[in-house]
């Protein structure tokens, strides 16, 4: 039975009608058109669908929509755009951190959560933050470097 749920998505209040147990990923992609949240496995194993719920990285593939009622959801679309990329996205570009790129939406989300709470993470901190993510192309080293570079950018270091 469809019910109405209200929550905040990328800063805007949204209202959706859905079954209570509908995974959030379908709401985001198919109802709200936020296609940057990616379906990978549907089992909380690959991290492709990671979003922030009240600032915490969460798997959108397994999270029922009723559990986000009244909360704030942040997706990759809230980071930056082609014209105005977020420092994290810029750092990934600078490091050319990615190949097929399918994993990157989720990884950027977890990286953002990390940098929001730790402006100067160690390599071990970065690895721990990304441990729930899979990358099949083997871009891991570049991704780790890119998160480190983003931290530098966000701290306002590293020159102009």
């Amino acid at each position: 039975m469809a019910q109405t749920f209200e929550f905040t998505v990328n800063g805007a209040p949204r209202q959706v009608k859905a079954k209570a147990d509908l995974p959030l990923i379908y709401v985001l992609r198919n109802e709200l058109g936020l296609i940057g949240t990616r379906y990978g496995c549907g089992q909380e194993q690959c991290g492709s669908c990671m979003v922030l719920i009240d600032g915490e990285p969460s798997y959108a593939c397994a999270r029922a929509v009723d559990s986000v009622a009244g909360r704030t959801v942040q997706t990759i679309e809230d980071l930056g755009t082609v014209a105005d990329p977020h420092p994290l996205q810029q750092a990934f570009l600078d490091e050319q951190a990615g190949q097929c790129g399918y994993c990157l939406s989720g990884i950027l989300i977890s990286a953002k959560a990390l940098l929001d709470r730790n402006s100067n993470p160690s390599r071990a901190d970065i690895v721990a933050a990304l441990e729930g993510h899979l990358c099949r192309c083997g871009a891991h080293s570049r991704i780790i470097r890119a998160v480190d570079r983003a931290a530098v950018l966000l701290r306002g270091e590293g020159g102009a």
């Binding site: 990616r38 990759i76 990157l104």
Partner: protein, 706 residues
């Protein structure tokens, strides 16, 4: 003339007309078409660099069209590390010729000699001074339907400004801001679809409890059935997903496969029915010298793309349009035309980005699935996505392989005679090649007969025999190839084909022979390696890895080395791996050094070398497809683990500069030497050789107990 023609790259022979490659657009850009597609390897960016270089245009005036069966050239599949060697060589010749034709027209207009002309941003300069004309003002005067001659000399590498630069990938930004994939094409009134897969090509659907499936779906679905092809359609993706997730347990099949436990292991292959071939000289059984033998194996492995395959199809006014993330749009169109009995011209196949595939994954099959439904629902756009479990169960796997080596040693402890005997299912069943087929064809009424397996011949780079011949100076070598014809699962192209197990075996044997001869593995290799480019990558990699300080081993710390030239004709790569072993293998550092001839985009090449090393490491340490009964049982990332962030070592990739040498395919060259270097480093660490992949915790513990 015909002799010269045969020297043209294959793509130019098949697609000779200039207009199949180039189009000068009204907005003062040039559309450059390629049949090769972006799979995350950066090839479209690299090809645009080649075009911009030869046309003397900035990159922003080049617009690439990739993977379009209507308007782009047929370059078959994006595979085998051939894109730069074949498509790149074609685009270079085409653009050089186009520039010459345009300047010839400009010279007529400007009443000067072509030699006085140069080009800046597409504007024509006369003796360095601006003229009123550009490429685009003379382009209409050129007959673009003429065939390329390939006779206009491209630029000398010393003049390159764009080729050889690490230009950022064109596709990456869109992927970083949440767009760009085929999965994201969700038209307004799309029909979502999911499959119930026939468990094997002979399986016949006995019953499907449709009421139970509808109940599980929890919303409105349509059940589409044609013989043993069953799909669930609806407006709500979550509902059709739920239907498909439940369907397998409500379906009963006759003549489903029944896989025995032993069949998932490479060891099962020995003695199975096979199509046998021999390459190389007969062995002289009377020859002197001691014989050293060993057997190595690799199990079935998966592409394990990060996303399940997806396709869209729409049949409108007699035309079928397909959107696919397959690696070849022209072959896809031909193969689907054949199954659906449509004229080829009635089908358009267009490439969109997908998850990295590294070979033949489910992308082609899912496109036929969508097409079958689209043909029966004219006007509707069908979006069919495989389920995660479906991708793991039904992708064509990288074949298990068993590699027997038999080496006759001379008085100096070096191989005098070398036999590599390979047992393997086929490595190529891409639709339209050899024994290839599209999965759903077997589920339709009047299915085609089962194909007779074929494998690429050694002359064509080989499948199971790829890199089975050592690159070292060995007087006599041969390959005995057993193409196993009835494996328990479908197999096809996966990055490096048979090269990984072969190089793993060959380079292990070389290390063991060095130890036997009491020599350092590097010195031993160099003593029988006359190709200076091969020596250079080995010498550089070992210098980076501080090889001269390598310990005696046996105490848990290992440093291993391996070398291969991919296909024995493409890029050279040497890899050194430092690791330590407790109950399992921990990678500490990987050094990759490659020689790929002329490099178009150095950072792009390093990215490929790094990614190849990680994928090779993951296969070597962790991966095995498991199967039992009706099919595959490794259906998720828990049962099919791959290397994770915490397991990634430091990686340094270096490309040796070879400006004056032809480009050599580089996308796969680091994979197999990494696998072999890990094998050798583990042997160094343990003082004991493990012959079977993966070098898992279980195998390490077993080795320690020995």
């Amino acid at each position: 003339m015909s002799a010269e023609k045969s020297n043209l790259p294959l793509s130019l022979t098949v697609n000779p007309r200039l207009e199949q490659w180039l189009k000068f657009e009204a907005d003062e850009t040039v559309r450059v078409a390629t049949g090769k597609v972006e799979i995350g390897q950066g090839v479209v960016t690299a090809l645009s660099q080649i075009a911009a270089e030869e046309l003397d245009l900035p990159l922003d005036q080049i617009v690439m069209l990739s993977g379009d069966s209507d308007e782009g050239p047929d370059e078959r599949y994006t595979s085998s590390s051939l894109s730069i060697m074949v498509s790149g060589a074609s685009i270079r010749l085409i653009c050089a010729e186009a520039r010459a034709l345009l300047l010839a027209r400009a010279a007529l207009r400007l009443n000067c000699s072509a030699g006085q002309l140069s080009v800046e941003d597409g504007r024509i300069l006369v003796d360095g001074a601006a003229s009123e004309i550009s490429y685009w003002s003379v382009a209409p005067e050129v007959d673009w339907s003429q065939a390329a001659t390939g006779e206009v000399a491209p630029k000398a590498p010393a003049e390159y400004r764009i080729v050889g630069q690490s230009i950022p990938r064109q596709d990456l930004l869109a992927k970083l801001v949440g767009g760009a994939y085929i999965h994201d094409r969700i038209p307004e009134d799309v029909v979502h679809a999911r499959m119930l897969r026939q468990p094997g090509r002979d399986a016949v659907l006995r019953t499907l409890d449709e009421a139970a499936v509808r109940h599980a779906a929890g919303g409105e679905i349509e059940i589409f059935k044609q013989a043993d092809f069953v799909a669930f359609l609806g407006a709500d993706e979550a509902v059709v997903e739920a239907a498909a997730a439940a369907a397998a347990e409500h379906a009963q099949w006759d003549k489903a496969p029944n896989i025995e436990p032993i069949q998932q292991e490479a060891a099962w292959l020995r003695g199975q029915p096979s199509d046998d071939r021999q390459y190389g000289a007969e062995e002289d059984l009377e020859a002197p010298g001691e014989i050293v033998e060993a057997t190595f194996s690799r199990p079935y492995i998966a592409h394990a793309s990060l996303a399940p395959s997806c396709a869209l199809a729409q049949f409108t006014d007699g035309r079928l349009t397909l959107w696919s993330h397959g690696q070849g749009m022209h072959p896809l169109r031909r193969n689907i035309a054949e199954v659906l009995q449509l004229p080829i011209e009635a089908i358009s196949a267009k490439h969109l980005n997908g998850p990295g595939c590294y070979g033949h994954n489910g992308a082609d099959d899912v496109t036929l699935d969508a097409a079958i439904i689209a043909m029966n629902r004219p006007g509707r756009c069908i979006r069919l996505q495989w389920r995660r479990e479906e991708e793991f169960a039904f992708e064509p796997f990288g074949p298990a392989m068993l590699v027997d080596l038999k080496v006759r040693i001379d008085d100096a402890g070096r191989p005098a005679d070398w036999t590599t005997e390979v047992w393997s299912p086929t490595h190529v069943q891409r639709p339209g090649t050899g024994s290839g087929f599209l999965l759903a064809a077997a589920a339709l009424p009047n299915p085609p007969p089962a194909p007779v397996p074929q494998d690429p011949l050694e002359e064509a780079g080989g499948g199971g025999t790829r890199n089975a011949t050592p690159y070292y100076d060995i007087p006599k070598t041969r390959i005995l190839h057993h193409l196993v014809t009835a494996p328990p699962v479908r197999t096809s192209a996966l990055r490096t084909l048979g090269a990984l197990p072969n190089v793993f075996a060959l380079e292990a044997m070389i290390d063991d022979l060095a130890i036997r001869a009491g020599e350092d593995p590097l010195d031993y290799r160099l003593s029988m390696l006359s190709d200076p480019r091969a020596r250079a990558v080995l010498e550089t990699a070992t210098k980076r890895a501080n090889w001269s300080q390598r310990g005696t081993g046996g105490e848990g710390e290992g440093l291993g080395l391996a070398f291969a030239r991919y296909k024995n004709t493409a890029a050279y790569a040497a890899v050194a791996v430092a690791l330590h072993v407790d109950e399992q293998v921990h990678l500490d550092h990987i050094w990759v050094v490659a020689d790929a001839g002329l490099v178009i985009n150095p950072d792009g090449v390093r990215n490929q070398l790094e990614g190849g090393a990680v994928q090779g490491a993951s296969w070597t340490l962790k991966e095995q497809v498991t199967m039992l009964g009706q099919g595959v049982t490794s259906l998720n990332w828990d049962s099919y683990p791959i290397l994770r962030f915490s397991e990634i070592p430091g990686i340094e990739a270096e490309v040796l500069d070879q400006l004056e040498q032809p480009s050599l395919g580089v996308g796969e060259c680091s994979v197999s030497p990494t696998a072999a270097a890990i094998g050798n480093a583990v042997a160094h660490a343990l003082g004991h050789r493990i012959h079977d992949m993966p070098l898992s915790r279980e195998r390490i513990i077993a080795a320690l107990l020995n």
